[in-house]
Amino acid sequence: VKNVDLVLNTADAGTTARSIAVVRSGGTLVSIVGPPDAAACAAAKIRCARPDRETGASNADMLARVVELADAGKFKVFVDGTFSLADAAKAWDKSREGHTRGKLIITVSEGPTIKHQ
């Protein structure tokens, strides 16, 4: 892979370093797993950046837009596994393996039930 416009690195810091080589001159490398080396980015003439919660839209605005997209059917959430609260540690084990094909979810409550006296 080379001459890529934009790389989003979610893997690890080692991938951040390797990613610099595949971004085209003038392209962008966004990393959410550690800051790219500024000098290497400058040498490769690419823009390196990290997402910034402070300067962007508020979380509420961001979520509201994403919810609109979901209701419009523009994306779906794939649930790869559900766990009880007691099995949360198993969910972490699976997450640490790093080979999920969707979200891991802890089902905390099944919802309201009519309480009897």
């Binding site: 892979v1 416009d5 934009l6 989003l8 979610t10 893997a11 991938t15 003038g26 392209g27 962008t28 966004v30 959410i32 990290r50 997402p51 910034d52 919660r53 300067t55 962007g56 839209a57 979380n59 509420a60 961001m62 979520l63 837009r65 919810v67 979901a70 209701d71 059917g73 523009k74 994306f75 779906k76 959430v77 794939f78 649930v79 790869d80 559900t82 766990f83 609260l85 949360a88 540690a89 969910a91 972490w92 997450s95 640490r96 790093g98 080979h99 999920t100 969707g102 979200k103 891991l104 979810i105 802890i106 089902t107 905390v108 409550s109 099944e110 919802g111 309201p112 009519i114 006296q117």
Partner: protein, 213 residues
Amino acid sequence: MRSTLGLALAVTVSLTAQAAPEKMQAAEVGVGGTLSVQWRPVPQPGAGEVLIKVRAAGVNPVDWKAAQRRLGMVPGTDVSGTIDSVGEGVTDWKVGEQVLGFARQSGSYAEYAVIPVNSLARKPKSMTFEQAAGVPIAAETAYRALHETGKIARGKPCSSMAPRVEWVPPPCRSPRRLAPASSAPPRLTITISCARSVSTRSSTTRARNSKTS
């Protein structure tokens, strides 16, 4: 007749018994990143916050990566549920509303969680609570990393585009091929990015493939 009366009475009891109990069950981080279920006090919503009865909590790698910093606390950020009570000054949200959001402070692996209203959104009608609990961090990754920071816009090379607010995505052609093999956030980010007509490749998948070949 008698059974109808009994049912009506039971429903009344459940509706009036909306206030959260004092204690709840919650996962707690132990030494070495272990988890155990403990009884803990139900957190109280402060000004500008809501307390939700948690239906589902999303698991993200950051949860266990941050375990050392949350020793003795409840882990988890992503959460969905129904509003149980609202804190001072909260006027836009009502008890019983179905929501999702970020419970960074209180933690989400628990029967109750506190969400600041600036981290709260209604649950998409089309989603189950489980699906909704998978949204916040993945959505933030997609939105901030690709849209705000990456400045992706539809149908334009990334170099020459201005940030766009609206998303009008056509369907993905082959999201499965593009989905990386790692954790969940990339799945949503890739889906949204190819939904926005930007040519994408998964660097994580490539990197992993090159390691094994």
